[in-house]
């Protein structure tokens, strides 16, 4: 049991997992083409994995498995470090790397949540179209506008949504980078054309991991800044030598 624990928290395991993840994702970047690549961003990841033949998705199965192992490894390493160094190291040196690890774990978890529950729907709409959010609430497309430069080039577009059928005066304007968020859904305008009649491509997204990913990113950034500050103070003094390194190999 002790041997298994030591293997799970060993630096070697972390290094191998990182290297294998790089290799799996590199292989995937060359596999990701054709109809399967087009579909992957329009359905929950696990639904894509269930539908696509293993010959095209093996790299993603491998990536998910390696990421899961890396997440467990990171969690165990942080727990072991806190156990061994609590009271011996200062608070900042003890916490800074663990905050980075915690941020990473939150981001991985956010991807898992999104992989299970994300959704995207596309609609081609014209002015007056009535749509419903996936939870059933209706909204209407009140207006579609396109901005054209003096040279006649399209330079932007927007849509005006009536978001409450009982109160037509309640409106929001959406444009690229400015979606309308409501009840966990985001309504995005992706394209618009004025001829032969005003029409637009709208997407309704649900990204349940987004809040958790943001929390992870904030935690990661705080930890990262703390690590940078500590390293700039140490100024190369603490680089482990040949013998010192052995004691640092198991935990980070």
């Amino acid at each position: 049991m002790k041997r298994l624990w030591n293997a799970l928290i060993s630096l070697e395991l972390g290094l191998w997992l990182l290297a294998l993840l790089c290799a799996a994702m590199a292989a995937g970047s060359f596999q990701l083409k054709g109809e399967y690549a087009a579909a992957i961003n329009f359905m929950p990841l696990f639904a894509w994995l269930a539908e696509v033949p293993a010959a095209h998705s093996w790299w993603l199965w491998l990536t998910v498995a390696l990421l899961a192992l890396l997440a467990v490894h990171t969690l165990l390493c942080s727990a072991e470090t806190l156990r061994l160094r609590r009271g011996r190291a200062g608070l900042m040196p003890l916490l800074a790397p663990q905050l980075v690890h915690a941020g990473f774990l939150l981001i991985v978890t956010a991807h898992l949540v999104s992989a299970l529950g994300a959704s995207v729907q596309q609609f081609e709409v014209s002015e007056g179209s009535l749509l419903r959010l996936p939870d059933g609430r209706p909204f209407a497309v009140a207006a579609i506008a396109a901005n054209v430069s003096p040279m006649g080039m399209p330079i932007g577009f927007s849509g005006e949504l009536a978001i409450d059928p009982r109160d037509p005066a309640q409106r929001v304007v959406i444009s690229p980078n400015h979606p309308w968020f409501s009840g966990g859904y985001g309504v995005y305008i992706k394209q618009a054309e004025m001829y032969p009649y005003p029409r637009a491509l709208l997407e309704i997204h649900r990204e349940p991991g987004a809040g958790m990913a943001l929390a992870g990113a904030i935690l990661f950034t705080i930890g990262n800044v703390m690590v940078l500050r500590l390293r700039s103070k140490r100024d190369g003094v603490a680089r482990p030598g040949v013998n010192e390194a052995e004691s640092e190999e198991t935990v980070t």
Partner: protein, 239 residues
Amino acid sequence: MKSILVSSICIFIFGSFSRVLLFAGLAAELAYLGMRGLSVGRLPLLGPHDTLVFFSASIALMALATSFSPALGKRGWFTFVSGLAAGLFALFALMFPASGMPLPQILDTLWFEAHVVLAFFAYALFAVGALLCAGFIGGRDRALLDLQFKAALAGWSFFSASMVSGGIWGYYAWGTYWLWTPKELWTSILWLFYALFLHLRLKGARWDALSAWLGIAGFVVMLFTYLGVSMLMKSSHSF
């Protein structure tokens, strides 16, 4: 306007043995970028020409900052090879036309600008780190590897911040903070590679040689992430 860029390339390639001339080359390149920005009415960060010039300027800036480290002392080779690298990337930029297109609405946000600027600062630090690794392999001076570790850590931090800002931008622009495209995959590979590299240091001095070679390999991974994916692979997310 291109004559300013050409003169900065000449200063970088032929004069960077001197820190003052490296600074002069950087000043000329920044002047060129400033004039480009004024002419197109936005930060010049679109297309291979502008991004290569910005990358070149970032290398010069990071090399200049690094050159003040006591670990480098009065070694002129570092500013020379850094200037040479900055000059070569700026020379490469001349092969591409400067885009005058207005900023697409989807890119008209501070999150995009932060994403790109932070990424290029990171790339530049990875490049500077690779030069320090080459210096270590040539002379076995451990101080260079210590300095390279700091450059890689700072670069990784910039790169992480770039990924965060890119994720926030993606959420507002596309409805998701992550897309499965070759560019995103290689971005993650680069991030994981440097995470591996930074953790490898905990193995101690016996691993210095491997660490130095990985520092150079990281530069290759970075180049593929930046240029290779955009030029050789089909991805909705490129320059």
